[in-house]
């Protein structure tokens, strides 16, 4: 039944909105095995090949989406799916207004909305593991997590206020050909809250808990990888209907040839 419903939903997108402009730029990311921040040797994660959008979804792309799908407009959206900050800053249901740059990443977007957007492009949100896997690359290396300069660059971004209104593509192109994973906005992932941290970072040392945080970071694979701690902390503070000014998204797809 559930599958049936899902199929209908996807079908609806495809049938009605074949003309919707979708981000054509995707790149293939070769799968592999890596140890996430919260893991030890035994928790290595294997990632299958997948494709990922080169850029985060922009304001203008999302505008096109809500024009075709009025139920996701600012005034129409169900509160269950998006809180009061949804599309905050938009002039009205069908206009960004002057405050938002068309080519800046869409933010103030809920997880439900981001997920639906991707589905309507015949795509999906990336998983946390996929996102982290793609984002551990710098310009030249697939895994730059050990590079101090790379971590510092990310940390510097976390400390720089108001980066959400920069244009897409204004940061660097990484090893896989993906832009802006660090430097513009945080990004939704499919299973953003699967790695649970409670609000109390120092308590997350229980055997039940995957992530070891803050001062009790004894279990983390890389003690200096504070940048990633902050991403996991951020994800841990979220609920699916939240809309946040610094949070956007991009889509992914299973590893078919493009």
């Amino acid at each position: 039944m559930e599958t049936y419903g899902k199929t209908i939903a996807v079908l609806a997108c495809v049938l009605i909105f074949q003309t919707i402009h979708s981000q054509v730029d995707m790149v293939q990311i070769k799968g592999g095995t890596y140890i996430p921040l919260y893991g030890v040797d035994s928790t290595a994660v294997t990632i299958d090949d997948f494709s990922m959008d080169v850029y985060p979804v922009t304001n203008v792309e999302y505008l096109e989406f809500v024009r075709k799908f009025p139920q996701w407009q600012k005034s129409m959206v169900k509160r269950l799916f998006a809180d009061g900050n949804y599309l905050a800053g938009w002039e009205n249901d069908e206009s960004l207004g002057d405050a938002l740059a068309p080519n800046a990443p869409i933010t103030n977007i809920s997880w439900f909305a981001a997920k639906k957007y991707c589905e309507c492009q015949d795509k999906r949100l990336p998983t946390v593991d996929e996102w982290e896997y793609a984002a551990m690359a710098d310009e030249n290396m697939a895994d730059a997590r050990k590079k101090e300069s790379y971590n510092q660059k990310i940390l510097d971004w976390y400390e720089a206020p108001k980066t959400f209104d920069k244009k897409i593509g204004s940061t660097f192109k990484n090893y896989w050909g993906v832009y802006d994973l660090h430097g513009l906005v945080w990004e939704w992932t499919m299973d953003f809250n699967s790695v649970l941290i409670s609000g109390e970072s120092r308590k997350d040392v229980d055997k039940d808990s995957n992530l070891f945080c803050g001062s009790a970071a004894v279990g983390a694979s890389d003690l200096m990888n504070y940048a990633a701690f902050m991403r996991y902390a951020f994800r841990g503070s979220m609920k699916a209907n939240y809309s946040i000014k610094n949070l956007g998204f991009r889509c992914a797809k299973d590893g078919i040839k493009i």
């Binding site: 206020p161 980066t163 109390e200 803050g214 200096m224 902390a233």
Partner: protein
């Protein structure tokens, strides 16, 4: 029923038997029924005492702001704050209060945060129930059970970084009867900061995680920045008054050896708790700890607050001032040296810096442009008040520097006046002036910078003054 009966009995018989005021066996039993919005204050101020008021349901509204500030001249830093200041807003409660805490994370902020109040009895000190995403507000409540002075701080991963960026403050829990009255109360909190650049390096300085891990602080300061408690920002009192300082140490790493030069603490609530020590010179404040000190000021003067791990005070910023006004009391202290300590042209104690300017002078200007820029900063700090923004001076009081024949005539004389001061009549552009310019405590670099700025502004003759020239005059 039995309890009721006892209370009733007590009420009816109180006239005759003088039953003492109702006391509760446990602070948990103190009722907190009436609602009240808490007054929060920015450092160095504290909210009014709770006095004899009964326990209340106390609403605390606190907003988290990530914002750029200035660590010291020209050094910018992105602070993460509770209430827009470092340390965060002061919260004043009394035993038995039920605090309803509203933690608001501003939508423009980048990160989730929470709050751990050491005054809370409960998991995480509230951190567990206050984890809040940007653009959201969390509400939780707790009852304050133990009197004392407690630190609060953010406990979101990575905890050390949140604290190092300034996310800490103090919450005071007064005993049921309140604290004894004093004349002046102030809020001071020490913190250590770690920047990518060395102490004094200009520009926006990112947080340096490795230095923080190594506990190699670039700045150790009171109230979030160098100079937060010096000069015009000094705390004040009058002779004969009792001063109470609520002292905290946010850390994240260093413990503080808090000391006031020229005062003895009459009373110290050791570690902010109930033990009272008396006649103390220096009190140790652990990272994540606090202390309350009280003393009476008997003589006028400027009293210097320091972390007596003394290089921090004179080289990293941990220095504040308490300015006391009033009549001399020569029985306590002969006034003879009083001004000399702080006005360097007098007496023999010329080297004692009165502000955190030392780091400033350690940065030599690398180009003419920098010499002008730094010179302007020094001018605005040191010369502006008398000689004015455009060097126009003040008629009949302070001579002009703009198009000044006196200045342009002799550069070595100008250097000498800055170094050693000048008293007596001079003629500038045909006008006579008879006033006093005090000697300035500036390094050779700073003198060179400021004079170069003056000579290259307002129609003067564009001389570049070098530190070597200053040195030559100084050594004459």
């Amino acid at each position: 029923m039995l309890v009721m009966a006892t209370i009733l009995f007590g009420l009816f018989t109180s006239c005759k038997n003088e039953i003492p005021e109702k006391k509760y066996a446990s602070s948990m039993d103190i009722p907190a029924t009436v609602e009240m919005v808490a007054t929060l204050t920015s450092p160095p101020n504290v909210p009014p005492p709770t006095g004899k008021r009964l326990a209340k349901k106390l609403i605390v509204d606190m907003e988290i702001l990530e914002q750029e500030g200035e660590m010291t001249n020209g050094v910018k830093y992105v602070y993460w704050t509770f209430g827009g200041t470092v340390p965060g807003s002061f919260i004043r409660t009394k035993v038995g209060d039920e605090v309803e805490f509203h933690l608001k994370n501003h939508p423009d902020n980048k990160l989730p945060h929470n709050i751990d109040l050491h005054a809370v009895t409960g998991p995480g000190g509230g951190a567990e129930s206050s984890f809040v995403a940007p653009g959201h507000e969390k509400v939780f409540s707790f009852k304050v059970l133990n009197p004392g002075l407690y630190v609060y701080h953010c406990a979101t991963a990575p905890v050390g970084m949140h604290i190092a960026n300034g996310m800490y403050g103090l919450i005071l829990v007064e005993p049921e009867e309140g604290l004894p009255d004093v004349d002046k109360e102030y809020y001071i909190m020490q913190g250590d900061f770690y920047t990518k650049g060395a102490n004094g390096e200009r520009g926006l300085q990112p947080f340096d995680m490795q230095k923080a891990v190594d506990e190699k602080a670039d700045y150790v300061v009171f109230n979030g920045k160098v100079g937060a408690l010096t000069g015009d920002n000094a705390i004040t009192a009058n002779v004969g008054e009792t001063v109470r300082l609520y002292l905290g140490n946010g850390g994240p790493n260093l413990v503080s050896s808090f000391h006031v030069i020229g005062e003895i603490f009459d009373k110290v609530h050791v570690e902010g708790g109930s033990i009272i020590n008396e006649n103390v010179q220096t009190t140790l404040i652990p990272a994540g700890g606090a202390a309350i000190v009280e003393f009476k000021v008997e003589v006028p003067g400027t009293f210097i607050l320091v972390d007596h791990s003394i290089f921090r005070a004179f080289n990293k910023g941990a220095l504040g001032m308490l300015k006391v006004q009033g009549d001399e009391n020569e029985a306590v202290y002969s006034g003879e040296l009083r001004d000399d300590i702080y006005l360097p042209e007098g007496g023999g104690i010329q080297k004692m810096p009165v502000t955190g300017e030392i780091p400033e002078s350690e940065i030599p200007a690398k180009s003419m442009a920098e010499r002008m820029e730094f010179g302007k900063q020094t001018y605005m700090q040191t010369c502006f008040a008398c000689h004015q923004a455009e060097g126009q001076g003040i008629p009949n009081a302070f001579p002009p520097l703009a198009k000044s024949d006196y200045l342009n005539a002799d550069v070595n004389r100008a250097i000498d006046i800055v170094l050693h001061g000048k008293t007596g009549e001079i003629t500038v552009n045909g006008e006579k002036y008879n006033s006093v310019m005090t000697a300035q405590t500036l390094s050779d670099d700073e003198v060179a910078n400021v004079l170069t700025y003056v000579y290259n502004s307002w129609g003067n003759k564009k001389t570049e003054v070098t530190p070597a020239m200053v040195k030559k005059v100084r050594n004459k």
